[in-house]
């Protein structure tokens, strides 16, 4: 069935290394997305018309443009139009952060506006000042709403990074193709074993994170 090819040489390690590349790119993008997303989400609650207009256009672009298209624009377009020579890895991080920031900012905005006004009012009525209200009442509630959703963003980011092979980054799918190609004669069925393995690898990477996100969401649901 083509699984034997995994045992040859360091093929299994190479596949894991490829997954590592995908994970590395997604982790950097997640950190950037969460940081920028929190800032943008907070800006969006200010109800400034300029910020609102810009962020709406930005969110709509992200909503309807496939990441693959964005990836092509940044990787091929930036070189051609701006004369910048971006590496594939940098392009990927830019695109995934562009996407992730939009997602995160919308979550942050939702969490912020979702806190009922009475929570602020009753804290003030207890004599807390603005800072105390935020530290003891508002932020803990927001954090509880946001953490499961941010964790969920990580799994989506990991899945999305599979796209980077399309701009030539040697990640797990590309490594898989290389192994299949190199063993074409000795293991003609390697494609089944390798792609099944990659399927499982992605599942093993994402499933525990999804479970954690679901668990926390349930746990903190009032």
């Amino acid at each position: 069935m083509g699984f034997e090819v995994l045992l040859k040489g360091n093929n299994a390690l190479r596949l894991l290394g490829g997954l590592g590349v995908a994970m590395y790119i997604s982790m950097i993008s997640v950190v950037i997305s969460i940081t920028l997303g929190i800032i943008l989400g907070m800006l969006m609650t200010l109800k400034n018309p300029v910020i609102n207009a810009v962020s709406r256009v930005y969110l709509e672009i992200v909503r309807i443009m496939p990441q693959m298209v964005l990836l092509f624009i940044v990787y091929f377009g930036a070189t051609k139009i701006l004369g910048l020579n971006l590496s594939a890895e940098v392009s990927a991080v830019i695109v995934f952060s562009f996407w992730g920031t939009a997602e995160m900012s919308d979550l942050v905005r939702g969490a912020l506006t979702g806190i009922p006004a009475i929570q602020y009012e009753s804290s003030m009525a207890l004599g807390m000042n603005r800072l105390q209200t935020y530290i003891h009442v508002i932020i803990p509630q927001i954090v509880r709403r946001l953490i499961p959703l941010s964790i969920n963003l990580i799994t989506r980011m990991i899945k999305t990074t599979s796209l980077v092979m399309m701009i030539g980054i040697v990640e797990v799918l590309k490594v898989g193709q290389q192994i299949i190609e190199a063993n074409r004669k000795s293991s003609p069925n390697a494609a089944f074993g390798i792609f099944a393995t990659i399927f499982i690898l992605y599942f093993l990477a994402c499933y525990p994170i999804s479970c954690l996100s679901k668990y926390l969401e349930k746990k903190w649901e009032n």
């Binding site: 069935m1 083509g2 709509e60 909503r63 309807i64 443009m65 496939p66 990441q67 693959m68 298209v69 092509f72 624009i73 091929f76 377009g77 070189t79 051609k80 139009i81 799994t155 899945k159 999305t160 599979s162 796209l163 092979m165 399309m166 799918l173 898989g176 299949i180 003609p188 069925n189 390697a190 494609a191 089944f192 074993g193 390798i194 792609f195 099944a196 990659i198 399927f199 992605y202 599942f203 994402c206 499933y207 999804s210």
Partner: protein, 219 residues
């Protein structure tokens, strides 16, 4: 930007656009069918099938479409299951989408309050009448926002079809860039065609969401 180039590429893009739409919507139709079926299985806790559906949903929600397509298109033929790129795209999208639609429909069904069931039962309604007259219409309304989000997500996912050599928009753009280096024009057209494909769905989706929400909850 060279408009002559754009005009000369137009027929190729239109062809690719039609193919992308065709496979995309076939996949979406499949995903809706799978989603409704699996949601019923989970909602009515049908033994054995429920367990299978759960595994299916988790497997497909936690892996990228690209990997699913590679497995089906390049992997399965090695054990004797060969399908065309087009069928593979539609089935892949259908399976991925089915796992998302299942979750959306199921949470819609579960979100109908128990008290609605009880008051319908108290009126003497039979199980079937209760389901078709009371539960289902409300569940559909409740799942609209999630289903719209899925539609947009799935249409965007069609962009990975090029990886299995389907001559879709991505493939065409990449091909033309490789052949003639008219990068700016090619990317511009790519964006325009995706906007044409997705903006109406996005706008219409928002309108439908508002309308159904209003009908149900009045806000």
């Amino acid at each position: 930007m060279d408009f002559e180039v754009i005009v000369s590429y137009l027929p190729l893009y239109i062809k690719a656009f039609m193919l992308t739409i065709k496979i995309g919507w076939i996949g979406i139709a499949l995903s809706l069918g799978i989603g409704v079926f699996c949601a019923f299985v989970l909602h009515f806790r049908i033994p054995v099938l429920s367990a299978i559906v759960k595994v299916y949903v988790e497997l497909f929600r936690n892996t990228p479409l690209l990997v699913q397509l590679f497995f089906v298109y390049f992997g399965l033929p090695k054990i004797g299951i060969s399908i065309s790129a087009e069928a593979c795209g539609a089935i892949g999208l259908g399976l991925l989408g089915g796992s998302y639609m299942t979750e959306s429909f199921r949470s819609g069904l579960d979100a109908v309050p128990v008290s609605q069931t009880e008051s319908a039962l108290a009126l003497g309604m039979r199980k079937g009448q209760l389901f078709s007259n009371v539960i289902l219409p409300q569940a559909v309304t409740l799942s609209v926002p999630a289903v719209v989000a899925n539609l947009i997500f799935l249409l965007k996912e069609t962009s990975v079809f090029s990886a299995i050599s389907l001559m879709d928009l991505m493939f065409t753009a990449k091909d033309l860039i490789g052949l003639y280096y008219n990068t700016t024009e090619c990317l511009f057209m790519l964006v325009i065609f995706y906007v044409v494909m997705l903006l109406p769905v996005s706008i219409l989706g928002t309108v439908i969401e508002k309308k159904t929400r209003f009908k149900m909850f009045g806000d």
